[in-house]
């Protein structure tokens, strides 16, 4: 049950951010912004450690009493951040991974759209619909 989904560009500005319910949008903006630090930390930690495996999925970034924040970074350093309600404990890691994979695929489609300039905010309806389907299924 995703409560907020955000796509952050390489330069750390948001390309797309959507949350439900809409009144708490500001709070989620703030949460996503603070989670970026954690993302950077994980990415640089992975770079320095001599780990063979480097995964795109970053996992749980940090939990609070209300919700948990998950992260995913692509090869072009675009980050996806997902805020999930803690009350729904049935969501397993696999499901989060598959949600991120769907996000990545939709983002790739947006990128390949010739009318889309990389760096602009995402206005694609297909992307919107996919995100809505991920958020609604949670409720």
């Amino acid at each position: 049950m995703a409560v907020c989904i955000a796509v952050i560009a390489k330069e750390n500005y948001p390309l797309y951010i959507r949350s439900i319910p809409a009144e708490q949008e500001l709070k989620f903006h703030y949460t996503v912004h603070t989670s970026l630090d954690v993302v950077d930390e994980k990415v640089s930690a992975m770079g320095k450690a001599l780990v063979d495996q480097r995964e795109l999925y970053l996992g749980l970034l940090y939990p609070t009493e209300d919700y948990k924040v998950y992260g995913y970074v692509t090869n072009s350093k675009v980050k996806f951040v997902m805020v999930v309600d803690s009350s729904n404990t049935a969501l397993r890691d696999n499901e989060i991974r598959s949600m991120f994979r769907k996000l990545h695929n939709s983002y790739t489609d947006v990128m390949c759209n010739p009318f889309y300039n990389p760096g602009d905010r995402i206005h694609s309806r297909a992307f919107d619909n996919m995100v809505t389907s991920m958020m609604v299924q949670v409720c």
């Binding site: 770079g47 995964e55 692509t74 090869n75 072009s76 790739t108 990128m111």
Partner: protein, 152 residues
Amino acid sequence: MPAMADETLFQLLHTQVVAAAYGAGRGSGDEGLRAGLTVLEGMGFRVGQGLAERLPQGALAFREELDTIKFLCRDLWGAVFGKQTDNLRTNHQGTYILQDNNFPFLTQMAWGQQYLEEAPKFLAFTCGLLRGTLSSLGIESSVTASVTSLPA
């Protein structure tokens, strides 16, 4: 098989794109040539950005620059031209030379030196493609191409 026709189709399309970039009265001489090259390279750049998102699907994040260049030589060349580059050299200080002895866009041209001046037009798109992919993957670069003899 549909997969094999992809490369031929892409080559034919590319030939027409080059012709169109120069055909629409863009002016002759040096400025015309440069304008056409810029247009082609810009096209390649945007395509490269899209490709950089799509190609590494499922691949692990690249750990260092060399990984990215190797990905270019193997996966990108394989996806776009159906083969891999023949040789990769580096001076370990940021310069990489990718060598392809049978570059698909140029194999259809006549043997010998006669069309050597025309060759850059057919390489501009590919240069842009590489630059776009690299920039999407986080590496700012400048890509130049050189042809020694046709077909190359």
